[in-house]
Amino acid sequence: MADFIQLLFNGLVTGSILAIAAVGVSLVYGVLKLVNFAAGDFLTLGAFVTVFLSVDQHVPFVLAILVAMATIAGISVILEFTIWRGLRKSKAGTLSLFLVATGVSLIVRQLILIIFGVGSRKFDIDQVKTFEFLGAQIAQAQLVVLVFASATILGLGLLIAKSPIGKGMRAFSDNPSLASVAGVNVDRIILATWLISGLLTGLAGVFQGMVQGSFESTMGWMLLLPIFAAVVLGTIGDAYGALLGGFVLGLVMELSTWSIFFGGVPSSYKPVVAFSTLALVLLVKPEGLLGYKARSI
């Protein structure tokens, strides 16, 4: 029982981080049809900017996080104007966009090494403090992440569901030409998408860094496959789907290590579990968990 509570809690923490990162990727795909393979490395950059500001420069932790999030959002917007806009104008296909994003990802990873140096880093937070809950050990850092990640997800869900910008984004993902006809300002939607996804990516990086304890320049890269699995699992381009997909995969990945299942899957095999789950779901429901097929008339 204690094992189960422990893994459930770990799963929720992992799931909430995956969910936040996956929504960013999903919004960008939905609006821009861009498979943003650079998301993982921007996640890492978010964590490194935060550690640089808070540990090296003694900026208060929360302020450092906010600056890091704004940095990733800012870079995302700059890339929109310098790269993505031009590529879309010249009608670059999904594959070309994907390859360019992969290039961006490699550059960001190298820049992190050049600017912040090799080796692992740590936030200046209490990594050892734990609480006991129904026999499980709940780390304070994990609890903080879970609380703030959940609040972020709630706020994000409301933003996407209710705000004009959220409705505009979903309308644009669904039917870009009709959205424009209906008065949706396409340029504003695209900017909002990069801003929101940049903020989320930076935040997810900080959360992942807090949960891991120490992290290296490959942190986000390692997380990229589960993030994409979450996006596809939930239905690609659907923001709610990405949230759901993130939580489902987080839980499945952690619970798969439970010893009750033939001694449990070794934890290095978690990505394999993620992709097996994805494959199984897609076999049954090819359009993803929240996907649906419009009635043909």
């Binding site: 004009p164 409705k167 505009g168 979903r170 309308a171 993902s173 669904d174 039917n175 030409s177 009709l178 959205a179 424009s180 006809v181 209906a182 008065g183 949706v184 300002n185 396409v186 659907d238 649906y292 097929k293 419009a294 009635r295 008339i297």
Partner: protein
């Protein structure tokens, strides 16, 4: 026509890339009227509407709207701003947001409803289209063909347009629904909305129209009062032989 029309095409040339489709089209839409453009497949009817939204590229001519605040040069207005000057458009295909709920389709239609009340307008639309009301939380993609067309109209009406552009509103509808649709268009028109539409179902559309144009090969061929065009044996023979 004596008065300045609400909406006007003057010698418009337009096309896609290097391909010219419209070769000098003239259309006048008086305020309060229903004007219909008919013509064979590929005549350039949809292109006329797409030219307004810069989906087709206008190379020559003038497109203008006499709005409340004077004449507006449509060629200089970004497509998403046309809602603001009072133009609503229901495209020929993919004219709803199928992944969004019915209610959200209406919300998106209201994005520029400056100073007005969204809930009041939605209630009005659900009263006008009672079939949609019980399904407001369903995804629009689950609607039947007739209901979709109603939703497409409702979405466009959400922004209180002065001029409504319709591309083949009756396409794909069962015969019984076609009658219902044209009645609905007359009712929308009576509520004060000027309509410019393109229709395959030429005779039925012209019968409810104040004025009609026959377009062929990207040029004006004939024009006249709707009822007269609909019963002109020569035009009926050439352009819409099929009943």
């Amino acid at each position: 026509m004596i008065n300045t029309p609400l909406f006007q095409f003057k010698d418009v040339h337009a096309g896609y890339g290097d391909v010219k489709i419209l070769n000098g089209v003239n259309i006048e839409v008086p305020s309060g009227s229903i004007v219909t453009i008919v013509g064979p497949n590929g005549a350039g009817k949809s292109t006329i509407l797409k030219a307004i939204y810069q989906i087709a590229k206008v190379t020559e001519g003038e497109i203008s709207l006499m709005g409340k605040n004077g004449k507006v040069d449509i060629r200089n207005i970004k497509p998403h701003k046309l809602v603001d000057v009072g133009i609503g458009y229901v495209p020929q295909i993919e004219n709803i947001f199928s992944a969004l709920t019915i209610e959200e389709n209406l919300d998106v239609g209201f994005i520029h409803g400056q100073g007005r009340n969204l809930e009041i307008r939605k209630t009005e639309m659900f009263e006008r289209y009672p079939d949609l009301a019980p399904r407001r939380k369903d995804r629009a993609g689950s609607l039947s063909g007739g209901q979709r067309q109603m939703l497409a109209l409702a979405r466009a009406l959400m922004s209180y347009p002065e001029l409504l552009l319709l591309d083949e509103p009756s396409a794909g509808l069962a015969p019984a629904l076609v009658d219902q649709l044209f009645e609905e268009l007359v009712s929308i028109n009576k509520s004060g909305v000027t309509i410019l539409m393109v229709e395959q179902n030429a005779r039925r559309a012209l019968e409810i129209s104040t004025y009609g144009y026959v377009l062929d090969m990207g040029r004006n061929r004939h024009e006249g009062e709707g009822v007269k065009l609909a019963s002109d044996p020569e035009i009926v023979g050439i352009y819409f032989g099929k009943k």
